[in-house]
């Protein structure tokens, strides 16, 4: 029995053999039957392989391009329902394929460890610790005291209570974050004095701006948090990304926490993770738009964008600008630049891919144009016939 499977080891992928094995055991097949099944499976498998010369790239492009024209641009918003706004549809797809450094709506889905998802109160608490909070948000007034050359911060006592702040803690943070500033406590809040002996108005003004932006709690970059329940699990949807800092928190589950910033994922989790992220993001858009594109196209595309080890978009700065042929590059974008560069370095175009061959009106090396006939004709023989 085992021998039969071994025979197919090189002809079929391991997963398929395992599947057949499982099914055979359930259905109690004889070895002759198993052989028959495997033969059939092999036939199907070989038939489903892509043949050489198939234009997979163009088929992928067309598979995205055609449904892309049908994508709806209107994004529905539910009135009164709190939700983190995320770019979807065609704009997001373009964003992914262009590999923009920063998504137009950066967002994270933060999952929590099971011990912190017992009740909603703890979840909310964790969420409030993730969200960045500036001094401005918990203060009611920042006034300039010209006489003392100081900034007087009046705290909003209601907000302090609501968010569970302690005045002493804030004082500590301010002391750490504001360098060269003397921070003093007063009845209303704090008095900030520049320890440098400038004391002029612009310096004071700058100090006020700086004080407003001091992050007193949370992770920088995360402007909005929304704890929700998704597929039975508690998720904190965040506007803004900062994977590096979020991973430091003990409450979160790092295995399922994701960001939609491809470059952030690539730098923190590695290129394979970025590849998977491209796939997930694409599939999420397609699912959201109700489009059905074969996953292999998405796989091919994400592989193409990451195979160099860096995330590269399908742009003239990315993989499209790295084509071998001068003519192909010139026909895509900025032709003058490519032709001038090529003439300076004396580039040779071997005319090996599709576009160049179309340009000079020769059969393209694809499909029926790919195979060539190699035959040796003995010249003498031809001569004799004459």
């Amino acid at each position: 029995m085992v021998d039969i499977y071994l025979k197919y080891k090189d002809e079929l992928p391991g997963k398929i053999i395992e599947d057949v094995k499982k099914e055979a055991e359930i259905n109690k097949l004889t070895s002759a039957e198993v052989k028959k099944v495997l033969e059939e499976v092999k036939h199907e498998y070989v038939n489903s392989l892509i043949s050489p010369g198939e234009s997979v790239g163009i088929i992928t492009a067309e598979s995205f391009g055609e449904p892309g024209t049908q994508m709806t641009l209107n994004v529905f918003h539910m009135a009164g329902v709190a939700e983190v706004q995320v770019t979807r549809g065609l704009p997001r797809l373009i964003e992914i394929f262009d590999a923009r450094k920063e998504p137009s709506t950066p967002s994270m889905n933060v999952y929590l460890k099971s011990e912190y998802t017992k009740d909603e109160k703890t979840i909310r608490k964790v969420a409030s610790f993730i969200k960045q909070m500036t001094l401005q948000e918990i203060s009611s007034e920042f006034s300039l005291n010209m006489m003392k050359a100081a900034v007087e911060v009046t705290l909003n006592s209601k907000k302090l209570r609501d968010f569970g702040f302690k005045k002493a803690d804030i004082l500590e943070t301010l002391k750490v974050k504001l360098k060269d500033v003397n921070v003093k406590e007063c009845t209303k809040g704090f008095v900030l004095e520049s320890s440098k002996e400038e004391g002029d108005l612009t310096g004071l003004y700058r100090l006020r701006q700086k004080a407003k932006e001091v992050i007193v709690r949370g992770i920088s970059g995360i402007t909005q948090v929304l704890p929700t329940k998704k597929d039975g699990k508690y998720v904190i949807q965040c506007a803004g990304t900062n994977l590096k800092e979020v991973f430091k928190l003990k409450e979160i589950e790092p295995k399922s926490t994701v960001s939609n910033n491809l470059f952030e994922i690539a730098s923190i989790l590695g290129i394979e993770a970025a590849k998977q992220a491209i796939m997930n993001e694409c599939l999420a858009v397609l699912e959201n738009q109700g489009l059905d594109i074969d996953i292999r196209h998405v796989m091919f595309l994400s592989e193409l964008m990451t195979h160099t080890g860096n995330v590269k978009g399908i742009t003239r700065g990315g993989i499209s600008g790295e084509k071998e042929s001068v003519l192909a590059r010139a026909s895509f974008e900025t032709p003058i630049k490519h032709i001038v560069d090529a003439s300076i370095t004396g580039e040779v175009d071997k005319i090996r891919s599709v576009i160049e061959n179309v340009m000079i009106n020769q059969p393209i090396p694809m499909g029926t144009g790919l195979p060539g006939l190699v035959a040796q004709i003995k010249k003498e023989k031809v001569g004799k016939k004459k």
Binding site: E62, P363, T368
Partner: protein, 600 residues
């Protein structure tokens, strides 16, 4: 303290803006200040702006004071009797014109019952939100806005009687519908601007059903019998004009039958319809390539000396011909002068257009479609009362577009045609559907507008009852006869040697970038090459310098002018566009070298 601006210019401040505005408005209403002035308060900017500039859009609204409309029953009676006019109402401060800015300060009631203490104005009629063309759509409050917009746009493309002096006009792309009918289902606007005197559609009997799949995806089926009886027939007019232009040196064009010696002479039969004066005679039947006006022009590049040289003065032909694919009868010939005082000849062609497959039709509800099939009368489905529809409309056109107005018009049209009168179905003031149904029942038809239908081909009864009735349809100006185009080979551009563009030029049909991608995706390599063969040329490439050489026809072999006769020159087939690219690169001081390699 509120800033006051007069026509966007700062003029001063007022303490109490409300009081200020109220005073001005009061003065405007009692006629002390011009009624063309508008005043408004902008809350966001905290400023008052007074406008008297030209170019503001303003609309009339009835004034409401203390919850009472100023347009009283008494006044309405006076208007009815002709005692008072619109201008009187404006003068007396019953109606005022507001611009967009002032409208922001108002609360306008839609009808009289709605008025409360807070209201400042009353809408004259809710239909004033619609424009002239949009008001022509009956039942438009039963349809979606996007369809209403489309329906309005379509009405402008409908054929009808566009001008009563059309026989004296020389409009491009003009058509006249032969038997226009006034619509059974109309709106107030049809009365308001005399639509019945120059209608642009016909009332058709339609059945909402399918027929052998020829009305899929917005196509429609016409009854050939109806078409032969004159349904949606139209006449198409096409003008041509030619003038005698004067050139320097006392030379000028001459309108006459060209002499066979003239440069570019076509052929004798192309000029067969011209009379002695070189102009075609009225009612001449012309077809492809026929000349309408004969003209010869002086030769083009005359140098100083040539002017006295008789031998070079062969004139060239510059007649106007009817053009590829056109045909018709000469309707009228006009002999006039143009602005420069030169002789101008205008010829108008006339052609009868009988509806054919591909002509575009539409109802008033944005339901447009092209004819997919003309069915002989005897093969059309017929009702138990023996009625065959003129048009078969696909039921799939209804649900996703939600044009309930279309369906209601069918029902109303049916009632109207049976009753023998027009029915007014103005937006927001439509007849009651229940009443119409009752009336239909009273006249011996099924209440819901459906009827029992029989298959015209087999005579079998359809299981479903078919919704049928009368609806106003337009024949739109987009007719296939003006658009049909195909070619095998023909004219090419001088520069690129690729086929010229456009139907009028007899141009090619482009196989574009995305179509190319499809052939690549199929791996049809050689088919792709053949498709792009239209500009293929053979060039002679010097294998030494990589440049393109010439062909020496004396020695009967290719030659590289740069490297001389010793270099090896091979002939290669490639697209002329690529050769042009190489030439252009050379002009940019880039040296593109072709390196040849044996392919086999």
């Amino acid at each position: 303290m509120v800033d006051v601006y007069l026509n966007e210019k700062y003029v001063g401040v007022v303490d109490n803006s409300n009081e200020f505005i109220d005073t001005i408005r009061k003065k405007r209403r009692d006629g002390t200040i011009s009624p063309e002035l508008n005043i408004s308060y902008n809350e966001e900017l905290n400023e008052v702006s007074v406008e008297t500039n030209k170019g503001r859009l303003r609309r009339p609204i009835i004034i409401v004071e203390n919850g009472v409309s100023k347009l009283t029953e008494e006044l309405i009676e006076k208007i009815k009797s002709g005692e008072k006019k619109w201008a009187d109402l404006v003068e007396e401060g019953v109606i005022e014109y507001l611009d967009a800015a002032e409208e922001e300060n108002t609360l306008i009631a839609l009808d009289e019952e709605e008025i409360t203490k807070d209201h400042t104005h009353l809408e004259i009629s809710p239909v004033t939100v619609l424009g002239v063309v949009t008001s022509l759509v009956p039942y438009s409050n039963f349809g979606s806005s996007s369809r209403l917009i489309r329906g309005s746009k379509i009405q402008k493309q409908a054929l009808g009687l566009y001008a009563t002096n059309f026989l004296l006009r020389m409009d491009t792309d003009a058509s006249i519908l032969h038997y226009p009918q006034k619509p059974i289902v109309k709106s107030f606007m049809h009365d308001a601007f005399g639509y019945d005197e120059h209608p642009s559609g016909q009332n058709l009997t339609i059945a909402v059903m399918s027929y052998e799949g020829y009305n899929m995806q917005d196509s429609i089926i016409l009854n050939k019998g109806s078409v032969q009886r004159g349904l949606a027939r139209s006449t198409f007019f096409k003008p041509f004009s030619l003038s005698e232009v004067r050139y320097s040196g006392g030379l000028m064009d001459e309108i006459s039958v060209p002499d066979p010696e003239v440069k570019g002479y076509k052929s004798e039969k192309d000029y067969k319809n011209l009379e002695e004066d070189g102009i075609i005679f009225p009612e001449a039947n012309v077809g492809t390539d026929d000349v309408l006006i004969g003209r010869t022009s002086p030769p083009r590049f005359l140098s100083g000396a040539d002017e006295f040289n008789v031998a070079v003065t062969t004139r060239r032909e510059s007649s106007i011909a009817i053009g590829e694919g056109n045909k018709g009868l000469v309707d009228a010939v006009f002999l006039t002068e143009n602005d420069e005082g030169n002789r101008l000849v205008q010829v108008r062609l006339r052609e009868q257009r009988i509806p054919e497959i591909g002509d575009k039709f539409a109802s008033r509800h944005g339901q447009k479609g092209v004819v997919g099939l003309l069915v002989p009368h005897e093969d059309m489905p017929f009702s138990d009362k023996g009625i065959t529809p003129d048009l078969i409309f696909s039921p799939h056109s209804i649900p996703s577009r939600m044009t309930v107005s279309h369906l209601l018009e069918i029902l109303t049209g049916k009632v109207g045609s049976l009753r023998g009168s027009q029915i007014d179905a103005t937006t927001f003031d439509t007849p009651d559907e229940g009443e119409l149904r009752k009336e239909l029942l009273g006249m011996g038809f099924r209440e819901d507008g459906t009827e029992v239908f029989y298959n015209g081909l087999t005579g079998e009864r359809f299981k479903a009852k078919i919704y049928t009735g009368n609806i106003y349809y337009f024949k739109l100006k987009h007719m296939v006869a003006n658009k049909l185009h195909a070619r095998a080979s023909g004219r090419i551009q001088l520069l690129t040697r690729q086929p010229v563009e456009g139907r009028a030029m007899g141009g090619g049909l482009r196989l574009g970038e995305m179509e190319k991608d499809c052939l690549v995706a199929h791996g049809a390599s050689l088919l792709l090459k053949e498709r792009f063969d239209s500009d293929k040329t053979i060039v002679h490439v010097c294998e030494e310098c990589g440049l393109i050489g010439t062909y020496d026809s004396y020695k009967n072999k290719p030659l590289c002018p740069r490297c001389g006769s010793n270099s090896k020159v091979s002939s290669v087939e490639l697209s002329y566009a690529f050769k042009l690219l190489l030439d252009e690169l050379k002009s940019l001081m880039v040296y593109p070298r072709i390196k040849l390699k044996g392919k086999f």
